[in-house]
């Protein structure tokens, strides 16, 4: 299965094989000697948050096809936990579903933007509902973009080409 289960965060960047998906032969090989906990990886690392296992699988595959490293989690609470505890190193982007039980993607967005440590990370919201109010609220709160589900590879590549990694 290419997509990740909501596994706990990979170990801090000590190993190139920290990938969540062990079968992903498209991973680029990074020499082990380069590993250091705070070293910036060349690989773009995306944290994908969605309570739907189907949607996690799809978004992870889309991102991995673009050679991004992906960590998936099934809740905003878990995402915040990993981020605040520094268990997901060097996250370059967060992509999250809007509506999730417990904490919503919108709330996650707010928390990220309120945090001095996390606020620079671009946050993208995904939603199956095209609600203009919702979209403008997210953008006003600092979301990088708002994608309508089902998300397509072209949506993601268009979005990623705009972001300054």
């Amino acid at each position: 299965m290419a997509a990740a289960a909501p596994s706990p965060a990979p170990a801090p960047a000590m190993s190139p094989k920290v990938a969540v998906s062990p079968k992903a032969v498209d991973r680029k090989v990074v020499p082990v000697v380069a590993a250091a906990a705070d070293e910036v990886s060349n690989e773009v690392h995306v944290l994908a948050v969605d309570d739907s296992s189907v949607d996690r699988a799809v978004i992870a595959k889309i991102l991995r096809s673009s050679k991004y490293r992906v960590t998936t989690v099934e809740s905003a609470t878990r995402a915040l936990e990993l981020l605040c505890l520094g268990l997901v190193p060097n996250v370059n982007m967060i992509i999250t579903d809007y509506w999730m039980p417990g904490m919503t993607g919108y709330e996650l967005l707010k928390r990220v933007k309120e945090s001095s440590k996390l606020r620079e990370i671009p946050v993208v919201i995904m939603s199956s509902e095209n609600v203009p109010n919702r979209i403008s609220r997210c953008l006003a709160e600092g979301a990088e973009d708002f994608l309508l589900k089902p998300v397509r590879p072209s949506d993601v590549s268009r979005l990623c080409s705009r972001i300054r990694w």
């Binding site: 739907s52 296992s53 189907v54 949607d55 595959k61 889309i62 089902p150 590879p153």
Partner: protein, 136 residues
Amino acid sequence: MVFMQGFLDEQFNQLEELQDESSPNFVEEVVDLFFKDSSRLLTNIEQAIDKYPQDFYRLDSLVHQFKGSGSSIGALRVKNECSVFKAHCNDRSLEGCRRSFQKIKREHATLKQKLESYFQLLRQVGPREYAVCSRK
């Protein structure tokens, strides 16, 4: 994919295009995830419909999830029937919800059957033929 016409939309093609050597069974795996999820959701919806007093908010929320993952695999007819169901929730029409739910179950079962046949066919004809089959 003539026999799938009307049951699946463009999103399914998008998934097929994502499938590659690094994940050669991607589509089937995602479809499996959907049916695992959907069985659970259908049970929960059924329980929620039979519960009294009805909680239309919860019903709507469950169908919303169902619709969402259906839409992610391109399950067109399932998705459309979910929209009908949601409209009945909105109108607080229990009878409408019941009728619609029966349709959802039927569409879901039909889709499952068709996809099982489809993947079986793909396994039989092999990868070269798959490229031909997957062209609309």
